[in-house]
């Protein structure tokens, strides 16, 4: 039996959406300020942060703020991101999925395998960035850290940031590509049809009805 057209499901609650956009703002601030320090070509971005010295002061605080919001946010969604047997099927069909060929990826739950891979890659990368960032934090922590350790921390921080922002770039594009997902993160809701198509198992859990 077809569900009514106007069916609406709550996908992201208020707390989730606030946490998501708080993390997003911190990410943008960290990306821009980090990029200014990463390559001299982008040093002009420091003007957006009140100049080089103030950018250097702000960047670590933004990083700590990000971590303080991100980990509780991630913890709250741990259950939905556990790796399930069905996720292997999504991974095997990833190419066709990305070619927009609508392959049969099995009955995905609240998050598909791509989203879960993003989730699980961000957790260690942010920990690495936090640790290496703390080690070079002037003027409090860095003076007590040996120069060799700070060089290594600087290198790992740059590599970690690169990996993270490539990942975030993919995440942002995937959200633009998958129609309805940005609306879902802004207003919190998706249509029943959207849920049936993208996350059939989650649809069943939410409504008790069969997705197809």
């Amino acid at each position: 039996m077809t569900a009514p057209r106007e069916e609406v499901l709550l996908r992201h609650g208020n707390a989730t959406r606030v946490a998501h956009w708080a993390v997003a703002i911190a990410f943008v601030a960290l990306f821009l300020s980090g990029l200014a320090l990463f390559h001299p070509f982008f040093f002009w971005i420091s003007a957006l942060f009140g100049g080089g010295p103030f950018l250097r002061i702000l960047h670590p605080f933004a990083g700590v703020a990000l971590v303080l919001v991100f980990y509780p946010y991630a913890a709250a969604h741990l259950r939905d991101n556990r790796w399930l047997p069905v996720d292997g099927r999504w991974v095997r069909n990833m190419g066709a999925y990305m070619r927009n060929e609508h392959p049969d990826v099995g009955e995905t739950h609240k998050y598909n395998a791509g989203q879960k891979l993003m989730y699980w890659s961000m957790i260690p990368i942010l920990a690495l960035l936090l640790l290496t960032g703390l080690l070079v934090w002037q003027p409090w922590i860095a003076p007590h850290v040996p120069a060799g350790v700070r060089r290594a921390a600087g290198l790992l921080h740059a590599v970690g940031a690169f990996v993270m922002f490539v990942g975030i770039g993919i995440h942002v594009y995937a959200a633009i590509w998958t129609k309805g997902s940005i609306d879902a993160m802004i207003r919190g809701t998706v249509s029943g049809a959207w849920a049936r198509f993208h996350h059939p198992a989650w649809y069943r859990e939410m409504t008790g009805r069969e997705p197809r």
């Binding site: 077809t2 990029l35 950018l55 290198l155 690169f162 490539v166 633009i176 590509w177 049809a193």
Partner: protein
């Protein structure tokens, strides 16, 4: 210490080469440790010329005073007691920036123009462009730059770049009463240093040597060390190098490749969207099945 009158060889975090048509004389300061009596006149002269006043500290049980370099002490007499060949030796080293030909501080610095290497070989910090990240301290193989707690800028010996620019010798050189410090062209100073060695060896310092470490491309502050086989006894690293980690961390090629990769993700997204279109929910057939 900004000095536009000096010709520039290298600038921190630059995207294009600095103007480098003119070639000027490469200078060097020679510190003959064997002639140093530890009077600290050079320390005073440095304070006087640069208008620096360090905090009055406490006696830490050695002649070294203040106990370490700081934003207010750009040079320091380091006194160490070492047993060398069964004899107690009282070693004195005039500590300060060595003005490396390949400066680790400049390589590590992310702030455009904050560290400048002049054609003369002087490595100078332009504090007005310093952002206070302290990366230069991590990049220095000699642990010389010091971050000020007051203004979060990094300071070190300028080799009196302001004096050198107008044809004067550095303040410490001018004041040294035993002429343990001399100043001139790098070639002359290297020659004078080498010339000093036979005399020292004759006087029993069999391992006397010139300290001009090749790992950093040589320095523009040279030492004549009576116990040249043991530089670490004076507090100098035996074989200072920039090291692979610093080179990889600050590799311009790697960073540019990183930025290009990052932006190619953006381009790939645009192309993907143009070719494949958005992922949309297909219209449902009456039976509820995908059309």
């Amino acid at each position: 210490m900004a000095l536009q009158s000096l010709d520039v060889r290298n600038v921190s975090a630059r995207t294009s080469p600095p103007p480098s048509a003119r070639t000027t004389l490469e200078v060097a300061k020679l510190i003959d440790v064997s002639r140093c009596i530890g009077c600290k006149a050079c320390q005073s002269a440095c304070m006087e010329w640069n208008d620096l006043r360090d905090e009055i500290g406490v006696n830490a049980g050695a002649y070294t005073n203040p106990p370490d370099l700081s934003d207010q002490s750009w040079t320091l007499m380091r006194f160490t007691e070492e047993e060398i060949d069964g004899q107690l030796r009282w070693l004195i080293l005039k500590e300060g920036c060595l003005h490396c030909a390949e400066p680790g501080c400049l390589k590590a610095c992310p702030a455009p123009g904050a560290i400048v290497q002049y054609a003369s070989g002087i490595v100078d910090f332009h504090e007005e462009d310093c952002i206070g990240c302290g990366d230069c301290i991590a990049g220095c193989p000699f642990d010389i730059p010091r971050l000020s707690r007051r203004d979060s800028k990094v300071y070190k010996c300028t080799l009196c770049s302001d004096r050198v620019a107008v044809g004067l010798e550095p303040a410490c050189v001018k004041t040294c009463p035993t002429m343990a410090i001399s100043f001139g062209s790098k070639t002359d100073m290297r020659f004078a240093a080498e010339e000093r060695l036979p005399d020292l060896r004759e006087r029993g310092f069999a391992h006397a040597a010139v300290y001009d470490p090749p790992g950093v491309g040589g320095t523009h502050v040279l030492y004549v060390l009576p116990h040249g086989d043991r530089p670490e006894a004076y507090g100098l690293p035996r074989d200072p190098r920039l090291g692979g980690v610093l080179r990889l961390w600050r590799s311009g090629t790697a960073r540019t490749a990183g930025v290009v990769t990052l932006f190619s993700v953006l381009v790939a997204g645009i192309l993907h969207y143009m070719r494949r279109g958005p992922l949309e929910v297909p219209p449902e057939r009456p039976g509820g099945k995908e059309a």
